[in-house]
Amino acid sequence: MPWWIALFFFQAPPQMDLPQVDRNPHTSEADIVQGRKLYAGRCAGCHGPGGDGGKGANLAVAVLPRASTDLALYRVVRYGLPETEMPSTLLAPREVWQIAAFVRSLGAASAAESVGGDARRGRDVVTTKGSCLQCHAIGLNGGRLGPALTDVGARRGPGHLRAKLLDPKAAIPDDFRMAQITTRDGRKIEGVRLNEDVDSIQVRDAGGKLHSYWKRELLDFKVERRTTMPSYADKLSSQEINDAVAYLSTLRGESR
């Protein structure tokens, strides 16, 4: 083929015009206010208006795993994340920085939330009086019904954790369902729905056993948006709640 046809197939390597700065140069009050507006228009749909996550990651945490530095955060906002749904943007550099400033303010607010508890005492609350490990795993120990808490302190701020302990029914995650199943041979299974489509359903029961059924094999099944997690509002004192939150906030899934 003529050499010039090759030009049509030539893909320029992605060029990142990253600013030559170490720190975000646009972090004034006015920048954060403007950043909030830009964020509301472009980011909130996935990350939530308060940055508490949804389809996108929770941004209201002290350390963002993919954007630990200002420049890394700029790069994620400007260029997106490959092989995820996080897109790039053609906003001006100043606007990218303003969004970054607002995102950092979410993390700072989360980090500044007063924990007011004692993590050492909280460990006892979580593992003994609260019986949290019956359903949740922390590292090598714990159950399988609820999500693991091994790195919950890195994923969730203290305010979120406190709210969960006090009123777990208030904010059940979008895709969380409990399923009750009766098979055609009369066995009953209750557990967390793992996956469902027109023809099939997958469940993990309270004992951790995995089940997969074609729906035609079932006599009956019921899927409900509810949680079996109890409220601790009446079970623990406010000091014990604070201690538990303090302990959970220390759980960061660290490597050996």
């Binding site: 090598l140 490597s255 050996r256």
Partner: protein, 527 residues
């Protein structure tokens, strides 16, 4: 609604029972599962299942397809335990699927740092299982134990600092109560290692540095301080023999790859087969295939352990069709070299001497202008798996027939930077091709050959149904008759790369053959 037989319903509880070491050891006794990377400890990648066979394979059809959200190369071999399939996905993720429906049960998604050091794609070749844990190595050089029921991280151990150029792409090997794991990093001047960790806690049990330090045997095969950047990665899963209690594991190229002038000497233990005591990690014996390698011919292929007649005597053999285009037969008890010969076009050695050491042809070193040498940099064989069938007593290998032009370059070491010392290109005007070859294990004589259009990069699996499954670079999955090489069935699966190995399992008593092709995992079953 249609009434279903009771037996059908009972089988829908898919909770895997605990996988003890004894189960992996006796993998042949439960052919419906696939409990370790190569199907058994001997590296056979042989399925004793025969429901799908050379008489009915024409009726093979995809039963379900699972696609990953990545266009990185998808190199994993799934593990199957009692109705659950565990597979790694690029870059360092793990998913559990129901083997019958292909539906997901849980997913583990790792957030990786943005400054990884990977030479050749963000890939992972598989997981290992023991007890109710699933083990996976990550590109940032951690070893994780995930809960087999939930995917939650039970422990997370940093093997070594990835910023020095290390990554983990290899599927771990569980031996007794330990998880053996290797590293990649041969293009970054790392110091290679093979580690074992306590499966329950993630605590390190032993470490073997593949490049010996000062005062250790073999350190004198490196001029000056060149051992410090000697590479010798361990990025392909090895084999284990409970009788010798040895772990057999291949090591990668010496660093820098193509500039040998800065590391004069034989460069032990790069390009070796290591035999390590499974309990202590102590070196029992080694065999170096390519002393002072200057062509990047890693000995990171799957060692195949076979007990068969060798010149009239029953022996415990280790078969190793090497990337350097020579087929080696070793005694796996002592490490003694028994036999070796070229099995693909090669132009770099006159042959092997009585000890198996290559007799190099002068003028085959990389140069500034480029030197044409066969085999190519990717070799006559590579990380993808061979297969040994005890029924045909043949070793099947996907062979690559190609050469490269090799260049030498500057080799300045900076920690965490690439450290190649040269490069390579295809040989202009030369046709490359490939073949599936069936070898008699002791003599390395070719029993049959099935020609491929281009050099393959996918492994093979023989089954008790007298079949051999494999795949072409052009995206076709095929079945040959294992005794004759006659093509019986093929399926056009993808326009993307095929970089993996077939495996087989039973679900609800029905045989499936699974293989990742493109960015999809296919499970095939009879119509």
């Amino acid at each position: 609604m249609r009434k279903l037989p009771l037996a059908f319903l009972l089988a829908t509880v898919i909770s895997p029972s605990q996988v003890g070491y004894e189960r992996i050891l006796g993998a042949a006794k439960e052919p419906g599962n696939w409990l370790t990377y190569s199907g058994n400890y001997a590296g056979h990648r042989f399925s004793p299942l025969a429901q799908i066979n050379d008489r009915n394979v024409a009726r093979l059809k995809p039963a379900w397809v699972y696609q990953v959200n990545s266009l990185q190369k998808f190199e994993t071999t799934p593990i199957v335990v009692d109705g659950v399939m565990y597979l790694s996905e690029p870059p360092s993720n793990v998913t559990a699927l129901d083997t019958r429906t292909g539906r997901p049960l849980w997913k583990y998604r790792r957030v990786l740092p943005d400054d990884l050091r990977v030479c050749c794609g963000q890939v992972n070749r598989g997981v290992a299982v023991l007890g109710d844990l699933v083990f996976v190595g990550t590109l940032d050089a951690h070893l994780l134990a995930l809960d087999a029921k939930t995917g939650a991280v039970r422990w997370d151990t940093t093997v070594i600092d990835y910023r020095l150029g290390y990554s983990i792409t290899v599927a771990p090997l569980v031996v007794k109560d330990k998880v053996v794991i290797g590293v990649a990093g041969g293009e970054y001047g790392v110091r290679g290692l093979l580690d074992a960790y306590d499966a329950k806690t993630g605590k390190q049990a032993w470490r073997f540095w593949t490049i010996p330090g000062p005062g250790e045997p073999g350190n004198d095969t490196w001029k000056g301080d060149s051992w410090k950047t000697g590479s010798g990665g361990t990025w392909v899963t090895g084999a284990y023999d409970p009788d010798t209690n040895l772990v057999y594991w291949g090591t990668g190229n010496p660093g820098p790859d193509w500039n040998g002038d800065v590391r004069l000497g034989d460069n032990l233990f790069a390009d070796c087969l290591l035999a390590l005591d499974a309990d202590s990690g102590k070196l029992k014996w080694y065999f170096q295939f390519t002393p002072h390698d200057i062509h990047d011919w890693d000995a990171t292929e799957v060692p195949v352990l076979v007990d068969t007649d060798f010149r009239g005597q029953k022996r415990k053999l280790l078969l190793f069709p090497n990337r350097n285009a020579f087929f080696y037969v070793l005694d796996r008890v002592t490490g003694q070299f028994l036999h070796g010969k070229p099995y693909a076009k090669q132009t770099w050695a006159k042959g092997l001497d009585d000890n198996g050491r290559p007799i190099r042809i002068p003028g085959t070193e990389p140069t500034l202008q480029g030197t044409k040498v066969w085999p190519s940099v990717a070799g006559a064989n590579n990380w993808y798996s061979p297969s040994y069938s005890p029924m045909t007593n043949l070793l099947y290998v996907a062979v690559r027939e190609a050469g490269s032009t090799y260049y030498i370059g500057e080799a300045d070491y900076k920690p965490g930077e690439r450290f190649d010392g040269g490069g390579f290109r295809n040989v202009p005007g030369e046709e490359e091709w490939g073949a599936i070859r069936a070898f008699k294990p002791a003599s390395a004589e070719v029993a049959w050959e099935y020609r491929l259009h281009t050099p393959p990069y996918a492994g093979v699996m023989a089954t008790a149904g007298n079949l051999l499954f494999g795949a072409t670079n052009e995206g076709q999955f095929f079945a040959l008759q294992a005794t004759t090489g006659k093509p019986l069935w093929r399926f056009q699966a993808t326009s993307l790369l095929v970089r993996s190995n077939p495996m087989s399992y039973l679900s609800d008593g029905k045989q499936y053959v699974a293989m990742t092709m493109g960015n999809s995992l296919y499970a095939f079953a009879l119509e």
